[in-house]
């Protein structure tokens, strides 16, 4: 029997391990780029030293990002940040310090990732770059240290679950709504140990920025990667962001999939994740009217220029509800500057937004807007676990930038389609 074709995951893990690898094989593979952030790098540095690491495998292929608690909110964090700065300078690796942005925005934006790459990052949302056709996945700190020393890591080649999305998203419905819907369908562990591949007209229609939102949330269905085929849009995007040569990879027609799921998205409604799990998804019609206290636009899921543009389109010339605080965290310094140039930030600030330093913002409860007991937050982030934003007595809803902007105007969860 001849061997079948390969999925994107099988192709990239084969080319980086020199093995003809298929799902469930174990490979030791060469990595193209290695990233750590300020929640995970300090432990990785500790492990690096404990492993007697003398030097990094290639100083041009490693970056450390200070984004989760940036600028530092207390002395404990400050000391950990200093540890990262010292390590970066000692080993001559790239350090993105406070204000540069969220790691998952910076990796593609600053050209560290191109199609066909194998990338590991000590952050679970490293799967974001799957939108560029890179196999990128989150690892822990000790794995990160091992990768920094050896330039390699072991992987179990994942099976793949394929999502085919037909049709076009209606007006006022975005890639965030699509991925929330898919997570609701397959649940929080529906793709555990697997890679997800997202294909179909609804995906090719999307901008590269919108695609990042989908790949970013692959981990919320348990997937280790959220992959997409490389098309012209991706190649163009990568050429304007990186000097490295793309090595485009597409899945073979006859590849083997663990599951193939098909959806038509033409009638999709805006979607919202309800507390306290991402897969607790409902269409906007079921949650509209719930009072909110805080709204957040930003994070590695939805803090890009396109997202801020959508929000500004809704908020321009209006004022947010007097009960609501709106926090905006641009995903990077570049996004921040571009949003200033386009007048987007002015519109948002005049509408009542508080803009915070580019980075993770209030996403993970370290700073920048921890909700009070009993408060309700609607956010463009990717997680709404109890306590996620630093208070386990708060309720977190997740939605698209348009839904969050519309809700901040109304003071309650609101359907954005009335505003776009």
């Amino acid at each position: 029997m001849g061997k079948t074709g390969k999925t994107i995951a099988e192709k990239i893990l084969s080319s980086h391990s020199g093995q003809d690898a298929y799902a469930n094989d174990l490979v030791v593979a060469r990595v193209d780029f290695v990233m750590g952030q300020d929640g995970t790098s300090p432990l990785a540095i500790k492990a690096f030293n404990e492993m007697n690491g003398q030097r990094v495998f290639d100083d041009s292929k490693i970056a450390l990002v200070i984004d989760h608690s940036a600028p530092s909110p207390n002395e404990g964090v400050s000391n950990l940040h200093r540890m990262m700065r010292e390590f970066a300078s000692l080993h001559n690796v790239k350090l993105y310090d406070i204000g540069e942005g969220v790691c998952h925005q910076l990796m593609p934006e600053r050209g560290h990732v191109v199609p066909g790459d194998l990338v590991v990052g000590a952050d679970s949302h490293t799967c974001t770059y799957g939108a560029l056709g890179a196999f990128s996945t989150g690892v822990g700190s000790t794995d990160l240290a091992a990768a920094m020393i050896s330039g390699h890591l072991w992987f179990k080649v994942p099976e793949t679950i394929k999502f085919i999305c037909h049709g076009r998203l209606p007006k006022g419905v975005y890639s965030k709504d699509l991925i929330l819907y898919l997570i609701g369908q397959v649940t929080a562990d529906g793709a555990t140990y697997m890679a997800a591949e997202y294909t179909g007209e609804a995906i090719s229609e999307l901008s590269v920025e919108s695609r990042f939102t989908i790949s970013n949330m692959a981990i919320e269905m348990g997937a280790k990667a959220g992959l997409m085929n490389v098309d012209e849009k991706v190649i163009r995007w990568v050429r304007t962001h990186s000097n490295r040569e793309p090595k485009p990879v597409c899945a073979d027609e006859d590849a083997n999939y663990a599951r193939v799921l098909e959806y038509d998205v033409s009638d999709l409604l805006p979607q919202v994740s309800r507390p306290h799990s991402v897969d607790n998804v409902a269409p906007i019609t079921e949650v509209a009217g719930i009072k909110i206290d805080q709204a957040v636009i930003g994070t590695c899921t939805n803090g890009r220029l396109e997202d801020l543009r959508v929000a500004a389109g809704i908020l321009r010339g209006r004022k947010i509800h007097p009960r609501v605080r709106l926090i905006v965290a641009p995903a990077s310094k570049r996004v921040y500057l571009e949003a200033i140039r386009e007048g987007i930030l002015q519109d948002l600030i005049e509408a009542g937004a508080a803009v915070v330093t580019p980075g993770c913002g209030p996403c993970v409860g370290t700073h920048n807007g921890v909700p009070a007991d009993g408060e309700t937050v609607i956010s463009t982030a990717n997680r709404n676990f109890k306590g996620r934003m630093g208070n386990n007595k708060a309720q977190i809803y997740l939605a698209s930038p348009a839904t969050v902007a519309a809700s901040s105007l109304c003071g309650e969860i609101a359907d954005p389609r009335e505003f776009v």
Binding site: L26, V28, D38, G39, T40, P42, L43, K46, A47, E50, M51, N52, G53, H68, S69, N74, G76, V77, L80, A122, D123, S124, T126, G138, V139, G140, S141, T142, D143, A145, A146, I149, S150, H152, L153, W154, K156, A188, D189, T192, Y193, G222, K224, S277, V364, G365, T366, V370, R383, F385, K386, G387, R388, G390, N392
Partner: protein, 163 residues
């Protein structure tokens, strides 16, 4: 290993294991250990006796890649985590850090049951119920890392991957 079961449900995520608000502050795992599972059970840390087990349903450790999660569990003196299934990154991190993880059907184990875990043979005995549950074997790569005492020890020994 013997100890008591501390029972949790499905999808116990890393935010519940150790909240982001603590993990960014310190590398002192004994300090973090005091907050393990706090959002699900504020008394957890005080209840645990050395060698007790966390027993959970599906997808234990989903969420972030924070290695503080298995480390804090280990420092809370938990002997092993036994779950129906684990999230991938947590599972890897636990092995890398030398925290035993056992994947098996946990549906019959109740809070407070006395358990005996035999990692070598891959069985969990519920002494309270008098039943024996067989566990899914660890992949060879992970067994190798665990038997070296974790990934740090593996690298100390070989300087790189030797799997």
């Amino acid at each position: 290993m013997t100890g008591r079961a501390h029972r949790f449900g499905d999808n116990v995520n890393t935010d519940y294991i150790i909240s982001g608000k603590y993990k960014f502050k310190t590398l002192d795992m004994n300090e973090l250990a005091k907050h393990v599972m706090e959002d699900l059970d504020p008394e957890f840390y005080n209840k645990v006796r050395e060698g007790d087990f966390i027993v959970a349903g599906r997808n234990f450790g989903c969420g972030s890649s924070r290695e503080q999660a298995p480390l804090a569990i280990k420092h809370a003196r938990i002997g092993a985590v036994i779950a129906r299934s684990f999230a991938r990154i947590f599972y890897r991190n636990a092995i890398n850090k030398g925290l035993p993880v056992v994947e098996c059907d946990t549906s019959q184990i109740d809070d407070g049951d006395e358990l005996e875990v035999d990692l070598g043979r891959g069985v969990v005995r519920d002494l309270t119920k008098g039943i024996e549950i067989s566990a899914k074997p660890l992949p060879p790569v992970m067994l190798k890392i665990l038997s070296d005492g974790g990934l740090v020890e593996h690298f100390k020994k070989y300087g790189t991957f030797n799997l």
